[in-house]
């Protein structure tokens, strides 16, 4: 299999990529690691007339500390997110999610920006980034804007990224003291795409009660969603195994997942609770300082 032919531009700067996007409009697609786009092009599900390669733009890779946030370049590959000391120590749930994507070779090539902009409903990063209240820096010819994850992910393969914008950076607020992050995933055993996954940011008071919880679930619908019933059931409560189990059991409240060839709707709703519980328990352990980062 090979893609339909196209014109290729190796962009040398974000400005040049923007100029090309403006010139070619809907005929052009941005290329990052290519691990979603190239397979779609090989299947002729995508037949862009032009590809604008961001891989040749310097300065879009790497993780740095910027004030009270992590700033992750959009072209940073999954393996580098997973192995970053900053990410592992400060936001271990994000490193966990990155390490569970695809396989070694995919993680060496796929990028966080590409995953976020593609917004596959079976992807990992959108779920954990919604839980972490991350935001995305979108640059256009007229300037830049920063959009929160909750506003960015719209539906299946759809985001608020405009046709003349480039996603350059992912910003992840550093969790407060006493907070824990975690990600748990049921992957399909063959493809390792998400069947169901859960991302958690939870802050624990010294008393052992839950000060706040943000819980995102993936795999049940058109994109990640906040499990608000679970969050409400944890808020202010003592974080006992019973409280966590009862709260997690409501992770699929209000959802009506489609059945597919892999799983019934009932099964998906059930395992959403199971993986929400696993992720909440891990986040609580980290909030208590047991191996704060990843080992």
């Amino acid at each position: 299999m090979f893609p339909a032919n196209f014109g290729y531009f190796a962009a040398r700067s974000v400005e040049e990529a923007l100029a090309l996007l403006t010139k070619h409009g809907d005929d052009a697609r941005l290329l990052a690691g290519g691990h979603s786009l190239i397979p779609a092009m090989k299947l002729r599900l995508a037949t862009p007339k032009y590809l604008i390669d961001l891989g040749t733009v310097p300065g879009l890779r790497g993780v740095r500390l910027d004030g009270d946030s992590l700033a992750i370049g959009a072209l940073t590959v999954h393996a580098d997110v997973a192995s970053s000391d900053l990410v592992r120590q400060r936001v271990p749930g994000l490193a966990e999610a990155a390490s569970l994507i695809g396989d070694v070779q995919v993680r060496n090539r796929g990028t966080i920006g590409g995953s976020v902009a593609h917004n596959d409903p079976a992807a990992d990063f959108p779920v954990i980034l919604l839980a972490l209240d991350a935001s995305f820096v979108l640059v256009s010819p007229s300037g830049s804007r920063t959009v929160a994850a909750a506003d960015f992910f719209v539906s299946f393969f759809t985001t608020t990224l405009a046709a003349n914008e480039v996603l350059t950076e992912i910003r992840v607020p550093l969790p407060a003291a006493g907070a824990g992050t975690a990600y748990a995933k049921l992957g399909h055993p063959a493809s390792w795409y998400v069947v169901v996954s859960a991302g958690v940011l939870l802050t624990r008071q010294a008393s052992g009660r839950c000060a706040s919880a943000r819980i995102a679930i993936g795999g049940l619908g058109a994109g990640p969603y906040r499990a608000t019933a679970t969050e409400a059931a944890l808020q202010g409560q003592a974080l006992t195994p019973e409280v966590i189990a009862a709260a997690a059991a409501r992770a699929a409240d209000g959802t009506e997942p489609d059945r597919d060839i892999y799983a019934s709707a009932e099964y998906k709703r059930h395992v959403a609770g199971v993986y929400a519980r696993k992720a909440i328990e891990a986040a609580v352990r980290r909030a208590m300082g047991e191996g704060e980062g990843m080992s």
Partner: protein
Amino acid sequence: MSIAAETENRSVPIKLTVNDVAHAATVEPRTLLVYFLRDDLGLTGTHVGCDTSQCGACTIHLNGRAVKSCTILAVQASGADITTIEGLARAGTLHPVQEGFREKHGVQCGYCTPGMIMSAAALLQMNPSPTDAEIKHALEGNLCRCTGYVNIVESIRWAAGQVNHEQR
């Protein structure tokens, strides 16, 4: 606009190093790296299995990292340093992972073998003493449809022992 974009760019010059040899070529942008290696350079040791980035038979090293060359455009590899299975042996001496596959019968039909060896070599580069669990984790992106995984893991464990023995 003083940008490269002024041309249609449907025939793109690339330069890359493959197994220590510098190559310059002109390719259609849609050319996948694996076909450039096989058809243009004649390096047919890198195999096409599933062609859908699942099986890992096309695994090569790009700037030292294991990647699937069926899901990379040749133009994306311009400027890169690539190693294929043909470049793993040095001065007629097999790489320890290649020796391991021979010693421990890690080969059945052989189709997945080049990709398995490239993934294993990348693993040992980063982690010279992997546990069995780490070896299996590193092979998640490589499928053997003969299901010869037991001997493959054993071959890599043997290679790790050789590497560590040599370094002592």
